[in-house]
Subunit: 337 residues, 2 copies
């Protein structure tokens, strides 16, 4: 029986309730001044009519969307997921919604994505990483909203940033291994040039090794990022063939580190007795696998939370809001001696 009819609008509710559309509008804002009886009557009528608030109209008129645009390299990465989780947690207090996009570790794709996202008129934009195409950078600079770069310390920040030095964390790992008397240390990472954070970590490895006067030739490029467990295992196989005397390996993430670990297990190599392994990211797997993995905790969720409160401060017009330097933490476990 029911006809195809247009969904009800605030005007319909106003008619039914006998008030003006403006009053209906007020009934849906929590803070606005309206008598309790009127509001109740309006909300009841809305429920009866099956009214659904139209955010598109509200967005246009009020020039507010309550969107925060976020780009991350991949949806399927516990670290970035944690960051988004922390951000979401903080923003939901303000009823803001995250508009999420995936760059697939590709700066061209990031550029497209940023353009797409800005069209939706977000209140702010959060991007992962501090390197972008020239056009993406221009888009962000010209955007009339706060811009926050995360998971990096940008050479030239566009707006604010919440991050850490990716080269620095690997330097720290190298220093730790050297202190533990390792010298034939290898690095398993992604292909250079795609994942900028991965490249930075590789760079940090090279710098630290040179500083210690150690051989920097033990470098395995495991393919385009993200490096999977499987790719980590394959890379470990190649490493062991090319450099059988390697004492320790630093992997670009815990996932590739775990893959590398399993490759050792299949070959009957003992970790850490025969070879040591370090990862990055403090993924759950590193804390539970046998042996557990030495890693670096980048405080992914904290990055999200701090980005969120930084954002809220900026949107509230607070002065003197600064950048946030995250301090990743080395966690020594069983995979290194």
């Amino acid at each position: 029986m029911s006809q195809i009819r247009k969904p009800p609008t605030m005007a319909d509710i106003a008619r039914v309730t006998g008030v003006s559309p403006m009053t209906v509008s007020r009934a849906f804002k929590t803070d606005s001044l309206i008598s309790k009886e009127t509001r109740d009557a309006i909300l009841k009528a809305a429920e009866d009519l099956g009214y659904v608030f139209d955010a598109t109209a509200s967005n246009l008129r009020s020039q507010k969307t309550d969107f925060v645009a976020v780009t991350i390299p991949s949806i399927n990465n516990a670290n970035f997921a944690d960051t988004v989780g922390g951000l979401s947690e903080t923003l939901s207090a303000r009823n803001m919604q995250i508009l999420l996009g995936y760059t697939n570790y590709d700066m061209q794709e990031e550029e497209r994505l940023i353009e797409q996202l800005l069209r939706r008129k977000p209140e702010a934009i959060v991007v992962t990483g501090g390197k972008h195409t020239a056009r993406a950078r221009k888009l962000l600079e010209n955007a009339p909203i706060p811009v926050i770069e995360t998971w990096d310390v940008p050479a030239e920040p566009i707006g604010h940033f919440v991050g850490f030095s990716n080269a620095g964390v690997v330097r720290e790992m190298v220093d730790h291994l050297v202190r533990s008397d390792y010298s034939r240390i290898a690095f398993i990472g992604g292909d250079v040039g795609r994942d900028t954070r991965g490249s930075d970590r590789r760079q940090g490895f090279l710098e630290a090794m040179r500083q210690h006067g150690l051989d920097t030739s033990r470098l395995i490029a495991a393919g385009p990022p993200p490096i999977s467990m499987r790719e980590g295992a394959n890379a470990m196989a190649r490493l062991l063939e090319q450099f059988p005397d390697t004492e320790a390996v630093i992997c670009v993430s815990d996932l590739s580190a775990f893959g590398a670990l399993t490759e050792c297990q299949r070959r009957g190599l003992r970790v850490p007795e025969d070879i040591s392994i370090g990862g990055f990211g403090d993924y759950e797997i590193g804390s539970i696998c046998v042996p557990t993995l030495t890693t670096i905790d980048a405080h992914a969720r904290d990055i999200g939370r701090k980005t969120g409160s930084l954002l809220l401060d900026i949107l509230d017009g607070k002065q003197n809001v600064g950048d946030v330097l995250i301090e990743p933490q080395l966690i020594v476990r069983e995979s290194t001696r």
Copy 2:
């Protein structure tokens, strides 16, 4: 020097270019009829002015958002991430954007989320699971857009569904184990009542065991979903204490299965010689850990892709679009004999 000025609109471009706003609008649609010269001039002027298309205005007037709303239990789950990836892949061909929300495995939260998402006027909504609060169900039924339920076979579908029987997959796993002469089989899952898919899997376990006339008391509730690796390990520890003679364990996911596996390794139990382990979801870890995990591949990415093409068919007004029954596949690996 630069003043705080309002971002340019199509009217500004029209003024600069000497055409009507309507023509400017046409220049931004790929299919519309407009001469090449005019379009080029408009796009150039837009670039010069730093114009950013305003989707909120477009959405309101055209009553189209190119949004597809999607709810998943958690962002940090490779299975759901794959489904979203497959969906995204399919929809991006139509330039549609996914509006993602997380229910945190909570039907109340799902209800709130659905209401939030519908306000954004998506073209369609995809929800994970076939069970919802009464109000959420009503919201979905009344929504003037296609509704697709995934990862389940709903008792009463709201619109269409793309999924499989969660009870069925575990029955299959039990049958396989029984065929391999196991009889003291346990199940490690989440608390009942929160995660409906997890509960369904538990139910499938009970049914299958009864059918085979086997003892159904070996049930470990590992806490509220999602069950982490750590919780899987803890559950395994409890299982071994309560039922030391258990021959095989089915875990609600590969992650908990891996956790259980590590617990066995820590206790010096051999898998599968002393105890066998089965998981669910065909996560990467199951294919690379030592020993590799017997699991069930639910074709997560395929669910996303098929949801996407089903959606496009519906939006194109195709008749006779049917539901999609996914056939999960048992993958026997080293963790069962």
